[in-house]
C-alpha cells in the first residue's frame, strides 16, 4: 500500500516581527502605575511580552504587535487613559487585491502549517469581485469518508498533468497504436511558480525546488536557474525554455520531467524539438491570459499541446492590452473550460491556472471554474514575509526590501513554503469534505457544486425592485 500523502510542516518562525493589526496603544499622561492593565486586564499577557521584547537586546527592532483588540485594558484602565487603534502600518501594506488580512493570514499559515481557525462568525464583506463571489457547496448527508476528513480513509488531492488517451486504438493485427500515456502525477493541485515580478530569484528557485520535492509537486523557474540546481532536485523542476536555449539545454531536458514554453507561433515545433531531445518530456505552454484565451486554448489543444498554463496578472485578471480592466481569471477559466468541452477537447488537455491565487479557497474555486490545478506565485513570496509593497516592486530590485527577501536562506524559505502549502492542503480537504467529494479530480469544472453570486441574487432577489444606492446615501 503506498504511503499516505502527508506534508511535514515544521514550525518555522518568521525572521521579522510581523506587522500586527492592532496595538498602537495610546497611553496618555497621568498614568497612576497601578498595573491593572498589565497584571489583571490583559488575558494574553501582551504588556509583559512587549516589555520583555523591548528589553531584549537580541530582539528585532520592530514593535511587537500582539494585541488582539479585546479592549479589556482600555475599558478597565483605572483612569481611562488607554486607547487602542488599528495599526496604520498594517493598513498600508499590500494593495487592493493583496489585502493586509490576506498577508497576515498567509504569514500565520507559513509559521507552522496550521489552518486559520477563529471564533465569532465571518467578518468580511458580503461578497467581492473575483473568487469572493463564489460559495462552494456542502452536503447534509453525503460524506466522503466514514470517519471524518482526517480519519483513516483518504481524501485524494492528487492530479495528473499530461495527456490521457480517451480510447485505445489497435491496428487490424491487434497491435496497440495508441501512444502510452505520459502522465505526471503530483500530490497537490498546485505547482510553485516564479514570482510575478522581478525578484532576486536564484536562491528562491532553489527553495521552490526543495519545497516541490517535499510536496511531491513541481517548481517552475527559468532554465538558467534550473541548470544551476543539483541533479537530484531536477525531477521536481519545470524550466521555462525559449526557442534559443533548447539545444544548449539537452542535459537539463533529459533530467527534468516537464518543461514550459512561452506561447508563440512556433510553440508546437519547439515542443516537438524538445521531445526529440527527451521523448518522455511533458511540455506545457505558458499562455498569458488575454480576451482571446479560449480561442487560443482550443487552437493549441488541436495542435497537440496537452498542457496549458494560463497566467493571469498578480491580481488574477486577464491582460486585455487596451488599458481596460480585464476579466477575472474565474470568468476566463469558465470560458476556456466550456469552450474546450464544447469542442470535445477538454479531456485532452490539462489546464493550470495561475496569477492571483492568494488563498486556499482560490485553489478550490479555480478548480471548480475549470482548472485541473493552479500555480502559486506571489503567495510564496508572502510566505517569506513579503508585504507586496505598492511602489511598483522597485524596492525588490534595489535592495530596499523591508524583509530582506534577497538574503533569505533557501532551506528556511522552502520550509515556509511547505508550511503554507500544508495549510492550503488541509483547507482544500475541508472544502472537499464539506462537499462530500473524495478526490480533487472530481471537483474540476463542477460548477453545480458551487454557487455564483449572480445566480443566487437573481433567484433570491430577482423579483425585488431595485433602487439606486445613491437614493439612500452610502
Amino acid at each position: 500500500m503506498p504511503d499516505r500523502y502527508h506534508i511535514h510542516a515544521v514550525p518555522t518562525p518568521a525572521r521579522f516581527r510581523r506587522v500586527g493589526k492592532f496595538g498602537n496603544v495610546d497611553w496618555r499622561e497621568d498614568c497612576s502605575r497601578c498595573s491593572n492593565c498589565v497584571k489583571l486586564r490583559c488575558t494574553y499577557d501582551v504588556y509583559r511580552q512587549e516589555s520583555a521584547h523591548d528589553h531584549d537586546p537580541a530582539a528585532p527592532l520592530q514593535t511587537l504587535n500582539g494585541c488582539k483588540a479585546c479592549l479589556s485594558c482600555v475599558q478597565g484602565c483605572t483612569k481611562g487613559l488607554l486607547g487602542v487603534s488599528v495599526n496604520p502600518e498594517f493598513l498600508d501594506m499590500g494593495d487592493a487585491y493583496w489585502k493586509p488580512d490576506i498577508l497576515l493570514t498567509t504569514w500565520n499559515q507559513s509559521d507552522a502549517g496550521k489552518i486559520p481557525v477563529s471564533g465569532a462568525g465571518y467578518r468580511g464583506r458580503f461578497h467581492g469581485p473575483g473568487f469572493d463571489s463564489i460559495w462552494t457547496d456542502m452536503s447534509e448527508i453525503v460524506r466522503p469518508t466514514r470517519d471524518g476528513i482526517h480519519g483513516r480513509e483518504y481524501i485524494s488531492t492528487s492530479v495528473d498533468i499530461g495527456a490521457r488517451p480517451l480510447r485505445l486504438e489497435f491496428d487490424s493485427g491487434g497491435r496497440l497504436l495508441t501512444e502510452p500515456a505520459r502522465l505526471l502525477e503530483i500530490q497537490l493541485p498546485a505547482i510553485l511558480d516564479m514570482p510575478a515580478w522581478q525578484v532576486q530569484d536564484s536562491h528562491l528557485a532553489e527553495a521552490r525546488a526543495m519545497a516541490a520535492k517535499e510536496l511531491c509537486s513541481l517548481a517552475v523557474m527559468t532554465a538558467a536557474d534550473a541548470a544551476a540546481l543539483p541533479p537530484e532536485r531536477l525531477p521536481f523542476v519545470v524550466p521555462v525554455m525559449n526557442g534559443d536555449d533548447i539545444l544548449e539545454s539537452r542535459a537539463l531536458l533529459h533530467a527534468v520531467r516537464m518543461a514550459e514554453l512561452p506561447d508563440g507561433p512556433e510553440v508546437a515545433k519547439l515542443a516537438s524539438d524538445m521531445r526529440s531531445v527527451n521523448p518522455e518530456l511533458t511540455v506545457a505552454v505558458r499562455l498569458v491570459l488575454r480576451p482571446t484565451a479560449a480561442d487560443r486554448a482550443a487552437e493549441l489543444a488541436r495542435a497537440g499541446m496537452k498542457i496549458l498554463h494560463l497566467c493571469a496578472d498578480q491580481h488574477g485578471c486577464e491582460r486585455p492590452g487596451n488599458g481596460k480592466p480585464g476579466r477575472h481569471v474565474k470568468d476566463v477559466l469558465r470560458e476556456v473550460h466550456v469552450r474546450l468541452v464544447k469542442d470535445g477537447l477538454r479531456d485532452t488537455v490539462t489546464l493550470i491556472a495561475g496569477g492571483g491565487i492568494a488563498l486556499a479557497e482560490h485553489m478550490a474555486k479555480a478548480i471548480i471554474c475549470g482548472a485541473d490545478l493552479v500555480s502559486v506565485d506571489t503567495a510564496l513570496l508572502v510566505a517569506l514575509g513579503c508585504r507586496v509593497c505598492r511602489d511598483g516592486h522597485a524596492m525588490c530590485s534595489d535592495g530596499r526590501c523591508p524583509v530582506e527577501i534577497g538574503s533569505v536562506d533557501s532551506a528556511y524559505a522552502a520550509q515556509r513554503m511547505v508550511n503554507l502549502m500544508s495549510a492550503w492542503h488541509s483547507q482544500l480537504i475541508e472544502v472537499l469534505g464539506a462537499a462530500g467529494i473524495r478526490e480533487v479530480r472530481r471537483l474540476r469544472g463542477e460548477v453545480g457544486r458551487a454557487m455564483f453570486l449572480e445566480d443566487l441574487e437573481k433567484d433570491a432577489f430577482g423579483d425585488i425592485a431595485r433602487v439606486a444606492q445613491s437614493r439612500v446615501g452610502a
Binding site: 481557525v117 464583506r125 475541508e430 439612500v472
Partner: protein, 534 residues
C-alpha cells in the same frame, strides 16, 4: 394567542406562568420566570466605549460651562467640586451636536475641548458587524430602547444581503408615521403547524436563542440566555454540550440539542423540554462538525460531556446513522417517542439543494425547519469555512420559502432562519423574504459585551468572560447583569419591530411573511432608480 404591548408587563419569579401543555411528569423542577422589565444595565467596565472621544486640554479652567450646556450628560461638574470629572464621552452624539447651540467644543471659553472619532471603537468594527452596530447593540442592552440616530442600528456595512435590502417606505417615505397603535401589534409566533396532536408552543417574540454549548460559553451566559428567554416567553438552546442542572428551572424555555457527537444527550434531558433540535450542520462550519478545543474542556465541561478533561472534543460530521430521509425520519420518531409532548426542530445548513433538504425534513416529521446560513457565529471554525462554504441565509430563505409554497406545505411547517441576523431589521427582512422567525446568537453575545475580537477559541477563551469556562474570566460578568442586558435587548428589538410593522400598517408579524414586494434592493446602477416609482 397573541402578544401585545399590554402583555409586556412584569412577571416576577413569584408568578411563574403555567403552560397548558405541561404534563405533570415533564419536569421535576419548579419553573422560574424572570421579570420582563426594562432596567438600566450600563456597561460593566469602568470605562464605557463610545463612538466619539472628547479630549480636554490642560488649559481647562473648570468653569463648568460644558456641563451646563451638554444635553447628553457628557460633562459633569458635581456640586461642591472644583473640577469637572472626566468626560463621559460614550454618551456624546458627535458632530451632529455642532448644529445646535449646545455644542461644548464651540462654547468652551478656553477652547480646551476637542471632538474626534474614538479609535478604540473603530478597532472592534468589521463590515458585517460595524463598530456602530456593536455600539448600538450595547446601547439597546443598556437601556432597552432604540439607540440614538448617531449610531446606525439597522444594518452593517457588508455591501450585500440584508445590508442592501430596505423596506420601500425607508426609501420613499422615511418619515412615514406609525399607522397602527403599538399596543395592537402582535409579534408572537405559534411554532406547531402540523396539526399532529402535539401541543402548540407559542413564543411572544419572533426570535429565540441559538445553540451554545456548555464549554463554548460560560454557565452565566447560558443561564442569562435562559432567564431572558423565560422573561420573553421564548427559547434558548443548549447546544451540544449537555444540559446543566442549573438550567432545570427554565426547562420550559430550553431547547435541547441533539447533535452528531451526542454529548450530554440523555433520555431525561429530552423528556424535560418542550422542543428538541436536531443539528445536522452549523452555518459557520457546514459539513465540518464541531470542535471544542482542549483548553476549554475543563473538568466541569468534561463531566457534563462524559469526556476526559483537556482533550479536544470533536463532533463528527454528519450523523453516521442518517443516509436518507427515511433514516432522518427514524431519528425524529425516536425523539417523538421519547418525549410525546415535544416539538422537533431540524437545523440544517444552506447547500445548493437546501430547498430539497427542507422538504425532506418536513416529510420526516419536523415541526420547525431551521436554516443556518453561512455567515453565522461560532466558537471556533476554520476561516475558510466561514466565508466560502454554503450560501448566506439571505439567499436560502426565499429559495426554501418558494419551494415549500410550490409543494403546498408552507403553512404546515415553521421556517426559522439564523446565521447573520444582527438586528431587528434583519429579522423583519428575513420574515419578508419568507421566514417565520429567526434565531439569534452573536447579537446576544454582543449585548453581553462581546467586541468580536474572534478570540473565543484561543487559550482560556473569551477575554470578556462570555465565551469562556475559565473560572476567573467568567466571573467578570454577573448573572443578574447579564440577564437584564438580554431582557433589555429583546425589548429594544421588539420596540423596533413594532415600529416598522406599524409603519407597514400590519397588526401582526405573521402578515409580513413572504412579503418581499415590500422590500427593495439597493443597486449600484443609477439607471434603475425609477423602477420603484413606476
Amino acid at each position: 394567542m397573541s402578544t401585545t404591548e399590554t402583555d409586556v408587563v412584569a412577571r416576577t419569579r413569584a408568578e411563574p406562568r403555567e403552560h397548558p401543555s405541561r404534563r405533570p411528569d415533564s419536569s421535576d423542577c419548579q419553573q422560574d420566570r424572570s421579570a420582563r422589565e426594562v432596567h438600566p444595565a450600563p456597561d460593566r467596565y469602568r470605562n464605557a466605549i463610545g463612538k466619539y472621544k472628547i479630549d480636554r486640554l490642560a488649559s481647562c479652567i473648570s468653569c463648568g460651562r460644558c456641563a451646563e450646556v451638554c444635553p447628553q450628560g457628557v460633562h459633569v461638574k458635581p456640586g461642591g467640586y472644583a473640577f469637572t470629572v472626566r468626560p463621559h464621552d460614550y454618551q456624546c452624539v458627535g458632530p451632529e451636536c455642532a448644529r445646535t447651540d449646545r455644542f461644548c467644543v464651540a462654547l468652551c471659553p478656553q477652547k480646551a475641548l476637542s471632538l474626534r472619532r474614538n479609535p478604540s471603537a473603530e478597532c472592534m468594527g468589521d463590515p458585517r458587524w460595524s463598530s456602530d452596530l456593536i455600539l448600538a447593540t450595547w446601547h439597546e442592552a443598556a437601556t432597552g430602547h432604540e439607540p440614538p440616530p448617531h449610531l446606525e442600528c439597522r444594518h452593517g456595512a457588508s455591501g450585500g444581503g440584508f445590508d442592501k435590502l430596505r423596506f420601500k417606505f425607508e426609501v420613499e417615505d422615511p418619515e412615514r408615521p406609525a399607522q397602527v397603535p403599538a399596543a395592537e401589534i402582535d409579534t408572537g409566533l405559534d411554532l406547531n403547524h402540523r396539526q399532529d396532536g402535539r401541543p402548540q408552543v407559542h413564543i411572544d417574540i419572533p426570535i429565540y436563542g441559538g445553540g451554545m454549548s456548555f464549554g463554548s460559553v460560560s454557565i452565566h451566559t447560558i443561564l442569562a440566555k435562559a432567564r431572558a428567554a423565560s422573561a420573553w416567553n421564548s427559547f434558548t438552546c443548549t447546544g451540544e454540550g449537555g444540559y446543566p442542572d442549573r438550567l432545570k428551572p427554565y426547562d420550559d424555555h430550553v431547547i435541547t440539542q441533539v447533535a452528531t457527537g451526542l454529548f450530554g444527550v440523555r433520555e431525561e434531558t429530552i423528556q424535560r423540554v418542550r422542543m428538541v433540535e436536531f443539528k445536522y450542520a452549523q452555518g459557520a462550519k457546514p459539513g465540518l462538525g464541531g470542535h471544542l478545543l482542549g483548553d476549554k474542556n475543563t473538568p466541569p465541561v468534561a463531566r457534563m460531556r462524559e469526556a476526559v478533561a483537556g482533550n479536544a472534543l470533536f463532533s463528527p460530521f454528519p450523523f453516521h446513522s442518517v443516509y436518507s430521509v427515511e433514516d432522518h425520519k427514524k431519528h425524529l420518531d425516536w425523539i417523538k417517542e421519547v418525549n410525546p409532548r415535544c416539538l422537533v426542530s431540524v437545523k440544517v445548513s444552506t447547500p445548493t439543494d437546501v430547498d430539497m433538504v427542507a422538504v425532506g425534513s418536513y416529510y420526516a416529521g419536523a415541526h420547525i425547519i431551521h436554516l443556518d446560513g453561512s455567515y453565522g457565529g461560532t466558537g471556533a471554525a476554520p476561516d475558510i469555512a466561514k466565508k466560502n462554504i454554503a450560501m448566506p441565509i439571505e439567499f436560502a430563505i426565499p429559495k426554501v420559502h418558494k419551494f415549500l409554497l410550490a409543494e403546498g406545505i408552507r403553512d404546515a411547517v415553521t421556517l426559522i432562519c439564523s446565521g447573520g441576523i444582527r438586528t431587528p431589521h434583519d429579522v423583519l427582512k428575513a420574515v419578508a423574504l419568507g421566514a417565520d422567525g429567526a434565531v439569534i446568537g452573536t447579537a446576544e453575545m454582543v449585548a453581553l459585551g462581546c467586541v468580536r475580537c474572534a478570540c473565543c477559541e484561543s487559550g482560556r477563551g473569551c477575554p470578556r468572560g462570555i465565551a469562556s469556562t475559565d473560572p476567573e474570566l467568567m466571573m467578570q460578568m454577573s448573572l443578574e447583569w447579564a440577564t437584564q442586558r438580554l431582557v433589555n435587548l429583546h425589548n429594544a428589538w421588539r420596540e423596533q419591530m413594532v415600529d416598522v410593522l406599524s409603519r407597514l400598517r400590519m397588526k401582526s408579524i405573521r402578515e409580513l411573511r413572504g412579503r418581499s414586494d415590500l422590500l427593495c434592493y439597493l443597486s449600484d446602477e443609477p439607471d434603475l432608480a425609477e423602477e420603484v416609482s413606476r
